[in-house]
Assembly symmetry: none
Homo-oligomer: 209 residues x 4
């Protein structure tokens, strides 16, 4: 019904959304096995049995939650990207704007949790993993590589493989976002804004002709 409906999901009325939201938090905190339906129900302000009205079992709820989260994240990313209006100005300016957008996006709780779940739990769900790899990671990189290709064409950047450069870009951004999310353990990091500037400067230097 809504924009984001994919065949595998029911129409997200209020109740399911509430539950998926709670599931997102609990699974994000403790993983698939560690989260308790009881806690999810409590957080969703719903009786335990109600969950089973919408999802056949815990695993399905987990899958659905991950999928929904990915889809939502994707929509946000696309919005962010187009909002960046990346077809105007120099490639460098575009890249700076996109880097900023990514930075906001990656530090989002949604993405952070996704990151964690992907790393440990998604081994058991290859289809979700593939979806993540294709739709989130790879697609995300396309935006970057597009800009870089244009920069290379225009002679703004040195002659790098745009795919490769985009991969380098995302490696730097992703790692830093997780570190910043756990800032309490990495005391040497500057503020999120400083980190962004550092990444941009370092990265753009590597693209200079």
């Amino acid at each position: 019904m809504t924009l984001l409906d994919t065949p595998r999901r029911r129409a997200p009325e209020a109740r399911p959304t509430q539950i998926l939201d709670a599931a997102f938090h609990e699974f994000g905190e403790r993983g698939l096995a560690g989260a308790r339906l009881d806690d999810i129900a409590k957080r969703a302000q719903v009786a335990k049995g109600t969950i089973y009205l919408y999802f056949p079992n815990k695993e399905a709820l987990f899958r659905e939650m991950v999928h929904t989260t990915m889809v939502t994240a994707l929509a946000v990313a696309e919005a962010e990207a187009s909002k960046a209006g990346f077809l105007t100005g120099t490639a460098e300016a575009q890249l700076r704007r996109l880097g900023e957008g990514w930075w906001t996006f990656l530090r989002t709780e949604r993405v952070q949790v996704l990151q964690r779940l992907v790393s440990l739990e998604l081994g058991q769900f290859p289809d979700l993993m593939q979806f993540y790899a294709d739709e989130v990671i790879t697609r995300g990189r396309r935006l970057v590589s597009g800009i870089i290709a244009r920069g290379v064409e225009r002679g703004e950047f040195r002659n790098v493989d745009p795919q490769l450069a985009a991969r380098m870009f995302s490696s730097i951004w992703m790692s830093h976002s997780t570190w910043c999310a756990r800032r309490e353990f990495f005391k040497t990091l500057g503020s999120d804004e400083q980190v962004l500037v550092e990444m941009l400067d370092f990265y753009l230097y590597a693209l200079r002709p």
Copy 2:
């Protein structure tokens, strides 16, 4: 039959290691909550009760396993680093050698598993998280920043903050190692060797004066 490997008393002092090893695999695969003591026992070729002779409970076993794994990884890393003999040759040569060492190290199962556990499970164990941040991540970076500082001094590299550059280095290496470990989902990646070369070239370019 002879004197080895009778059901009881196989190698008395090896027991904890045996168990920790099995724990590493099971926890690494399914996380703290998802792993079953039963499976750990089976893998360690030990009775369920035996585990409790050495660890008071599941959580303690998990903690100990993570800690031990980190310590071992650390030792390996240090050995690798010194083996690289990084005080000879140009800074670039040293960095290349170290980058190669890191690459081997990071693609190790031990480190990959650690990575996953850190990301999802270590939220509940801040002390382990801190230990990881300090001893593994931060300490590892010191090796890199040392070389870079020397390169900067010698005029081989541009005038970057070595700390910062080391952070960039590890962000690239770490992300790529996880992607390569899940190569089946990232079809566009070249071989591990190619990826290493790509990273080295890209990174060194960003340091050229």
Copy 3:
């Protein structure tokens, strides 16, 4: 089939009582460590897990059971005492009536079991022990000492310390009740009624002026 006694939801508020009742029997028979939750559940006609809906663990169930049993016993004792209408007639008549009431009360399964549990298991639960000492033993004696004080005042009894006499009273009654409960081992005992008469006669003789 009709509206009663379907497997689930039998009498929602009765559950704790049902369980405590079963616990009383099992713990009373085999003690805290010896009783099995499984058997308690079976006797309560409840699934094992149901117990944990009402009590956090075995020990808590035990404590609660002991406490409840004591409180119930107390209520019964008070009722018995007031029913004896001990403010009418001679002190001797009152004492005879009360002695009879106590005799009935003490030979009750509830009290017998309590006795046993107190003696062996309550060393580990000083608060319950104290409760028993204060509320059951000491309070019980007050009833007796009141009557005796009145008997002394009226010159019916010799000049004894009522507290002390009440203590003697309860020592005789309590011991005999346990012996009668194990009559098979004490073949020389007469019937419960004879024993009562013997106690009353002996005791009252000791109070004659």
Copy 4:
């Protein structure tokens, strides 16, 4: 080999005695099911396996321990009784001496523990229970009833059934001994010596012609 050997027991060399001693404490504290062989071994300063060299299993150890304790208690009681030289002096004097002896005896840890075990655990061991009833309780009473019979004959005491009077005697002494052993819960009790005097006076008054 020793005096107390009954057919069912092995000769008590040092080791078994050590173990029985430890068993006495642990079983006395936590009962048959609650005590752990591990703790018994530790207390006996013996390896866990060693226990099985002398006793086929936990239950047998328990039985043996109870039996031994009873036999020992009995021997002590007899000694105490004959030491009281109860065939000289008035019956009252003898009774006072015996009452004193019993008082000492009953407040012994050995007897206190026995008391507790009898009440809860000995339901499962009818033979031990019978042994206790016959040899400890009933036999003990014989000493008292003998003196009373003599007192009655001599006109010192009123014409009571000596058996019955002995039963009253033991009921008073036994109850008070357990209360005094848990003195912390019965704050109104005087010192052990006072309690003894109170019991003697009360009891002898009941025997006055």
